[in-house]
């Protein structure tokens, strides 16, 4: 225990190791706290990106430095000029690097800083705290996208695609938080650019497709109810039904659609079909409109049906006038 310089050397090695690699967590949480203090945070998500294989270049830096010290001391330094205490210090440093670094790295790759990415939404934009797998001075800790630079978003295969202003897009894994992400994006008023989401089957919540069908049908009934007086005046009936591939009697990938039919005297005159979802072998395309846009789209379609009927009624009248 009287060899204090050796222990200080080991402590210095651990400290340096921590400053090189472990401090990633420190800096990241400092930046995170700063954002929480300065901005009104709406939601935070943690996305596990899994294990990265341990790469040699990460471990090389402190060890290389230690070996450099070692070589300088034992090869180039004139004996006696350096002093016993300092020699013991470097011995402790190199020893700690050789013995303790590898277990520390095995601990490091299990930490959340190493594995997970953190996405923090606030009023002004969204910050992506990237996973930190290198040394503290390399790469970037946080990427930021402010809503002023964002044109809209769409949903594709496990990712949210943020469209940038004026060009390009940013692909961001949602890690299973798709619905929560969309709720926040709706809250900040970001528009969805593409009305169909492409999702993997495993991402879908149970009954999500059935719920979607039920929601669209319910809303279609509401919309049709709104046109009740027009329908009565024209003597027509508009009916919304949910149809699927089996009812069409064709062999194909499973899909379901909404059929808005215009009925006159128990006969279907016109119809508009609208795809609700389709399964392309594990990749599902589903209608991803929020309630307001869904209502608008249904209203458009019902209105089109009624317009068509009005046109149809209008034509013979004009011909009658010609006679």
């Amino acid at each position: 225990m009287n060899d204090i310089a050796f222990w200080i050397g080991m402590g210095a090695a651990l400290l340096l190791w921590y400053l090189f690699y472990g401090a990633n967590a420190l800096v990241r949480s400092w930046l995170l706290r700063k954002q929480r203090r300065e901005q009104e945070v709406l939601a935070e998500f943690e996305i596990d990106q899994g294990r990265l294989p341990l790469q040699r270049r990460w471990t090389g830096l402190p060890l290389g430095l230690g070996l450099l010290l070692f070589v300088i001391l034992y090869v180039t330094d004139p004996p006696g000029a350096f002093g016993y205490q300092k020699l013991r210090f470097v011995n402790g440093y190199v020893f700690a690097n050789l013995v303790l670094t590898l277990p520390l790295f095995l601990l490091l790759v299990r930490t959340r800083t190493f594995r997970t990415e953190r996405v923090v939404f606030d009023r002004a934009g969204v910050s992506f705290y990237l996973r930190r797998s290198g040394w503290v001075g390399g790469g970037t800790f946080v990427q930021r996208l402010s809503w002023a630079n964002c044109f809209g978003y769409s949903v594709g295969k496990g990712q949210i695609l943020f469209a940038l202003q004026p060009q390009g897009h940013l692909e961001q894994q949602h890690g299973g938080h798709r619905r929560a992400f969309e709720a926040v994006l709706a809250q900040v008023g970001l528009q969805k650019l593409i009305s169909y989401d492409v999702v993997y089957e495993r991402e879908l919540a149970e009954n999500e497709l059935t719920e979607l069908e039920a929601r669209v049908l319910r809303m279609a009934e509401d919309v049709i109810q709104g046109y009740a007086s027009e329908c009565a005046a024209l003597g027509i009936r508009i009916q919304a039904e949910r149809m699927d591939a089996t009812e069409l009697g064709e062999a194909s990938e499973p899909f379901a659609f909404l059929r808005l039919g215009l009925w006159v005297d128990n006969e279907r005159e016109h119809q508009i079909d609208w795809l609700l979802w389709a399964d392309y072998g594990g990749e599902i395309e589903q209608l991803g409109l929020a309630d307001d846009r869904l209502y608008e789209a249904l209203d458009d379609r019902v209105h089109t049906l009624i317009e068509r009927r009005v046109q149809q009624l209008g034509q013979p009248q004009r011909r009658a006038r010609l006679q």
């Binding site: 430095l65 010290l69 630079n149 469209a163 897009h169």
Partner: protein, 324 residues
């Protein structure tokens, strides 16, 4: 006394050396590029020259300063350990100062900017350096007009091809889009696709409305050339720009804008034939925007009108309508 003085001297000399060295390795590159551009301007006739940021627009990277602090700490540690040796102190100072300057230079704007120049002989591309030292990778790439014969545009990338083989990709600023189309049309390079695939946010609606008016005026002028032929067939053309969305929703999903040519019967004004020519089609995130400009556009419209005329001539006279 002399020892400590030499350490200080070593320190200052090492720092100055590192500064000069990194200025030579990374710092002179903007100067070299502007020299090359100047030389190019005296050598060849430059039609157009512009630059573009290669970093994705809109994403901010917070510069990582942790490395600086750690570097300073390591340097202090080395000074504490080897304070007696001017050589080692000098080496450590030179190393850390170089790394420091390198980081500053690499983060500078120049290293993310690509420049290009269109001349009479070809295209000169000055790629973004991304922190490369001065001796690595060529500083300029030349593509002769003889090496390319066709192009297409995807987003903000111009892809040049020869014999359907990809030759080179050139990024450009969204604001230079129209200018580039004009230049490429002047070079008489073939378009590989009639429409360009561009980002919707890149599409300038207000310029497009003006262009729509211009194109419809031009279409009518061209149609006047075919007036006699239409009359011979007892037909009258009806021409205009159509949209399936109101103007302020032209960026929305499924929004389209197209030219429509209806061919009507001269007496009854009954529609005999309808033909369309797509101008703009958006899928929400990406849009297809016709990239025909100038003479190319005139040629394409004329060919379309001629085809419609042929088709309506082939249709012949309609059956006599029976009116009771």
């Amino acid at each position: 006394m002399i020892d400590s003085l030499t350490v200080w001297q070593a320190l200052i000399v090492a720092y100055l050396c590192a500064t000069v060295l990194s200025a030579l390795v990374w710092g002179v590159q903007p100067y070299l590029r502007s020299r090359r551009l100047q030389a190019l301007k005296t050598r060849e006739r430059v039609r157009f020259s512009s630059d573009v940021h290669t970093a994705p627009a809109g994403i901010e990277h917070r510069p990582n300063r942790a490395g600086y602090w750690l570097g300073a700490l390591l340097w202090a540690l080395l000074v504490a350990l080897f304070g007696h040796s001017p050589l080692l102190i000098g080496a450590a100072t030179a190393l850390f100062a170089t790394l420091f300057w390198r980081k500053l230079f690499v983060e500078s704007e120049f290293h993310t900017v690509q420049r290009y120049a269109f001349t009479d002989r070809g295209i000169w591309i000055f790629p973004a350096r991304h922190g490369l030292p001065v001796w690595k990778k060529p500083h300029e790439v030349f593509v002769s007009w003889r090496d390319v014969d066709a192009y297409k545009i995807e987003g903000v990338d111009l892809l040049l091809h020869r014999d359907e083989q990809f030759v080179v990709r050139l990024s450009f600023k969204p604001t230079d889009y129209e200018r580039l189309l004009g230049l490429l049309a002047d070079r008489e390079l073939a378009r590989m696709e009639v429409s360009d695939r561009i980002w919707v946010a890149q599409f300038d609606e207000h310029a497009f409305y003006e262009w729509e008016e211009e194109i419809s005026r031009m279409g009518w002028n061209l149609l006047d050339l075919y007036a006699d032929e239409f009359e011979e067939l007892h037909l009258v053309p009806e021409f205009g720009v159509m949209r399936n969305m109101p103007g302020n929703r032209l960026l929305d999903e499924y929004a389209r804008s197209w030219l429509q040519l209806n061919v009507l019967d001269i007496d009854t004004h009954e529609k005999r034939l309808t033909s369309t020519f797509a101008l703009w089609h958006s899928n929400g995130a990406l849009g297809q925007f016709t990239g025909l400009r100038g003479q190319e556009l005139v040629d394409a419209l004329q060919e379309w009108f001629r085809r419609v005329l042929q088709e309506s001539a082939a249709l012949g006279q309609p059956d006599e309508e029976v009116v009771s």
